[in-house]
């Protein structure tokens, strides 16, 4: 019997007392050489390896992970999946990614619990309504879906939102019905299992300590488990991009900031969408376990500490209670911080680097989770010398050429995006 995860397998293992489940992936020893090395065993790195093997037939691949698989930002985000961007450079990519999400559980043979429960971005002024209408039209022009809700529409969808807030009355909301949430760990594990089954070596506890460059091209890496050679190396280490890039002598347009996220105690269903507050940066959804999952802005200063500050927690709670007054009765269970790869325009980079054979996947700011399948898909195409149009504008040199993809129009300042 195959190791397919399905009803008959579950029945069989259930009858045998669940003694027949093996590990979901191997724990191989590093080989001296691979065709492709992916640095970073998070969502994006594992997805890249998976699509390299599945789509391009490149299976002599190693994923090098300093810690354990999925232990970085894919394991510490607010799990929102959407494709509601204004600019072509982003929307083409994120819509591709959302389409991959829609078939991901079947494709991976692993339940990633993608739940298209919709996202609503509330607006509170006439100007915001115009901006959201424009964004919705852009989404539709790029093949995505969008609906403009009026005030009663928002009230119908989410009765516990304070639609009649006297200071920030809600005029309506931009809704994407196909958006939603997914189980973050399952995404990493599903891609890991899928890549492993196709022959990819997943090497954990394998820290890259050096990138070997000869005559302007990569020849391999030094790791805590010995040197490994490869002519193509992809970096997917958002959160540590500057540090790993420095090993190859790269200086990149990235600053590292902390973003906090929060979970409340589990309560009965009260919110079935993902909803964002337009009068302050605040987003909230309810997990399948019942906890309210929410977050807001960056703390603001540069940090690698994975630790947020208390003033921002106070700010987030204020925004939350303004938006969903019932939240004031709920106890906060925990909060945590993750290191964000902030780019100067708030958009990611998937591109070649000036070093031949070294590929860069970085700058995800705080939108990396929804991008996981799309990022892996596009990065694998780039590494296989078949770049796709989805990432045509996500170039490393766009800050020099003046072609920034500045979704917020906030200008060249990393911590404003």
């Amino acid at each position: 019997m195959s190791d397919h995860y399905g009803f008959w397998r579950l029945l069989r293992e259930g009858l045998r007392g669940h003694t027949g489940w093996g590990p979901a992936w191997r724990d191989p020893e590093p080989k001296p050489e691979y065709d492709v090395i992916i640095i970073g065993g998070g969502g994006h790195g594992l997805a890249t390896a998976y699509y390299l093997a599945k789509v391009h037939g490149i299976t002599n691949v190693a994923v090098l992970e300093k810690g354990y698989l999925g232990g970085g930002n894919v394991g510490r985000n607010t799990t929102i999946v959407r494709s509601n961007y204004l600019h072509t450079g982003n929307q083409l990519f994120y819509e591709k990614s959302l389409q991959l999400w829609e078939g991901l559980s079947a494709d991976l043979d692993y339940n990633v619990m993608f739940s298209p429960r919709s996202i609503i971005n509330c607006f509170h002024t006439d100007g915001q309504r115009d901006a959201e209408t424009r964004r919705g039209n852009q989404m539709i022009l790029h093949g995505a879906d969008a609906v403009l809700l009026d005030r009663e529409g928002v009230r119908r969808e989410a009765p516990l939102i304070d639609v009649d807030n006297p200071r920030f009355p809600i005029y309506g909301g931009l809704m994407q019905k196909r958006a939603g949430t997914a189980r973050h760990d399952a995404v990493a594990w599903g891609f890991a299992r899928g890549a492993d089954r196709r022959g990819v070596d997943l090497l954990q506890n394998c820290e890259v300590t050096g990138i070997d460059v000869e005559d302007g091209r990569v020849i391999g890496v030094q790791t805590s488990r010995g040197p490994i050679r490869a002519k193509k190396i992809g970096m997917a280490v958002a959160g540590s991009t500057s540090r790993v890039g420095a090993l190859a002598g790269l200086r990149l347009p990235i600053e590292s900031h902390v973003l906090q996220a929060f979970v409340s105690e589990g309560i009965k269903p009260m919110l079935h969408n993902v909803i964002t507050f337009g009068a302050g940066h605040f987003y909230i959804s309810q997990s399948d376990k019942g906890g309210l999952v929410f977050g807001a802005s960056l703390d603001g200063y540069n940090t690698y500490a994975q630790r947020g500050n208390l003033p921002l927690i106070e700010h987030v709670m204020e925004a939350g209670v303004s938006f969903v007054p019932a939240m004031s009765k709920v106890r906060l269970l925990r909060s945590w911080g993750g290191v964000m790869d902030m780019s100067p325009d708030g958009s990611p980079i998937i591109d070649k680097t000036p070093i031949e054979g070294l590929y860069l996947n970085a700058g995800w700011c705080y939108g990396g989770f929804k991008a996981t399948p799309g990022s892996g898909w596009c990065f694998s195409h780039l590494i296989a010398d078949k770049p796709t149009h989805h990432i045509a504008q996500m170039r490393l040199d766009r800050f020099k050429t003046g072609r920034a993809i500045d979704e917020l129009g906030a200008g060249a300042q990393h911590n404003l995006h």
């Binding site: 500057s242 540090r243 420095a246 200086r251 990149l252 347009p253 990235i254 600053e255 590292s256 603001g300 200063y301 540069n302 940090t303 690698y304 500490a305 630790r307 500050n309 003033p311 100067p344 800050f399 020099k400 050429t401 003046g402 060249a412 300042q413 990393h414 911590n415």
Partner: protein, 100 residues
């Protein structure tokens, strides 16, 4: 986190607005550097972004409203010192790096 403002003394970080890492000076306006040249790119976009000692612009928004450069450790959040931004780039390189 407390930040030692050169004008106001020790103040809580909520009074300040962080801007970005101060890794390169702003090129002179009207100079020969074009936007795509390294001088402007280093000022606006490109960063070493070290995990450890860094220098970073903060605006004392709820205080003296001056721009300062704070010398801080990005792994521990330990603050070693702060200089007025107007004076910072006049300092010799080693003093900038030491956060004096």
């Amino acid at each position: 986190m407390l930040i030692p403002c050169p004008h106001c003394g020790m103040r809580p970080s909520e009074e300040f607005t962080p801007k970005s890492l101060a890794e390169a000076p702003r090129p002179a306006l009207g100079g020969d550097d074009r936007p795509e040249d390294d001088a402007w790119q280093d000022y606006l976009h490109t960063r070493t972004n070290a995990a450890g000692q860094t220098n970073e612009y903060f605006h004392h928004t709820l205080g003296c409203r001056q721009w300062i450069v704070v010398h801080r450790n990005t792994l521990t959040h330990e603050v070693a010192g702060a200089t007025l931004a107007s004076a910072y780039w006049q300092q010799p390189k080693h003093e900038q790096e030491a956060g004096e």
